[in-house]
């Protein structure tokens, strides 16, 4: 993998998370708090973040359809499954539950490590444990 390209991508993502405010769990939770709509506590910013991100990514995807392969590899490595199955739904529900409790999802949490707050480190460690629990325990159950 081209180190410089992935580094740049990570920098862009981290910068986007900071600029958009999505690195702040409070902004995320205040968006997810639909019951606060109308009482002044709702922050609609996340909708604009997702909107901006999806529009730019969509344009990029369209342009990339003309590419036979990515710049530094022989082929694209994208998922092709279209199956809507239980792991997708249950996993997403569990993810949403965790996101709704902490206001952190993987990107913002990892990006925040540089801000040196112990609770963020705890979240990331717990996240890695959760990932390991899935890959080493859950997916190997008989």
């Amino acid at each position: 993998m081209p180190i410089l390209a992935t580094l740049v991508s990570g920098l862009l993502l981290g910068t986007g998370l900071v600029v958009s405010g999505m690195i702040d769990p409070m902004k995320v939770l205040n968006f997810l708090d639909f019951a606060a709509i109308g009482s002044g506590g709702w922050d609609g910013s996340l909708a604009f973040v997702l909107g901006g991100a999806v529009v730019v990514a969509f344009i990029g995807v369209q342009v990339m359809k003309r590419m036979r392969h990515p710049a530094f590899d022989d082929s694209f490595h994208v998922p092709t499954s279209r199956r809507i199955d239980a792991p997708l739904i249950i996993g997403s529900a569990l993810f949403g539950l965790g996101w709704g409790i902490g206001g952190f999802c993987p990107g913002p949490a990892v990006a925040s490590l540089s801000m040196g707050i112990p609770q963020t480190v705890l979240f990331v460690v717990a996240m890695l444990v959760g990932m390991t629990l899935h890959d080493r325990v859950w997916s190997r159950r008989t």
Binding site: M1, I3, T6, S9, G10, L12, L13, G14, G16, V18, I23, M26, K27, L29, A47, V49, G52, A53, V54, V55, V56, F58, G60, V61, M64, M67, H69, A71, F72, D73, F76, P79, R82, L88, I89, I90, G91, L94, F95, G96, L97, W99, I101, G102, F104, C105, P106, G107, A109, M115, I117, Q119, T120, L122, F123, A126, L128, G130, M131, D135
Partner: protein, 143 residues
């Protein structure tokens, strides 16, 4: 704690996030899904993309430093304080994202941009779950 509605910086930041995904896809052909990238930094290693993933995470972690250095301003952030809830949240996010094959970046940005039916379902489910969770924690339990 109230936060300010910031549509312009949200759009600009979102565009940068989208751009990050495009850069990664155009250069490596891979989805910018942080849950997958982070999970694959843990053993076992099944491909030769470790260095690239590490560089991506390094960029992600370095970015707030860079922004703070350039702007000279602190980055506003309110992190959860309850250590048990923080741990539970982390466990759920970690387990759920790999079980569900993605998170907000993988499904919510890249998947939707690719018009993926799986990602549409995943995004709707995790959004609904998150909204329901916040409703319960803030308006039912929290009070």
């Amino acid at each position: 704690m109230p936060t300010t509605f910031t549509p312009l910086s949200a759009l600009v930041g979102g565009a940068l996030i989208g751009l990050a995904a495009v850069v990664l896809m155009a250069s490596t052909g891979r989805i910018a899904g942080i849950s997958g990238i982070a999970a694959r930094l843990l053993p076992p290693y099944t491909d030769d993309a470790f260095a690239g993933r590490l560089a991506f995470i390094a960029g992600l972690v370095a970015a707030p430093f860079g922004v703070m250095a350039i702007t000279g301003a602190a980055i506003p952030q309110t992190v959860p304080t309850n250590l048990w809830l923080t741990s539970a949240a982390g466990l759920l996010v970690g387990f759920g994202s790999v079980l569900g094959s993605g998170c907000t970046s993988g499904h919510g940005v890249c998947g939707l941009a690719r018009l993926s039916p799986r990602s549409l379902v995943a995004t709707l489910v995790f959004m609904a779950a998150a909204v329901a969770t916040v409703f319960v924690t803030r308006h039912v339990i929290g009070g």
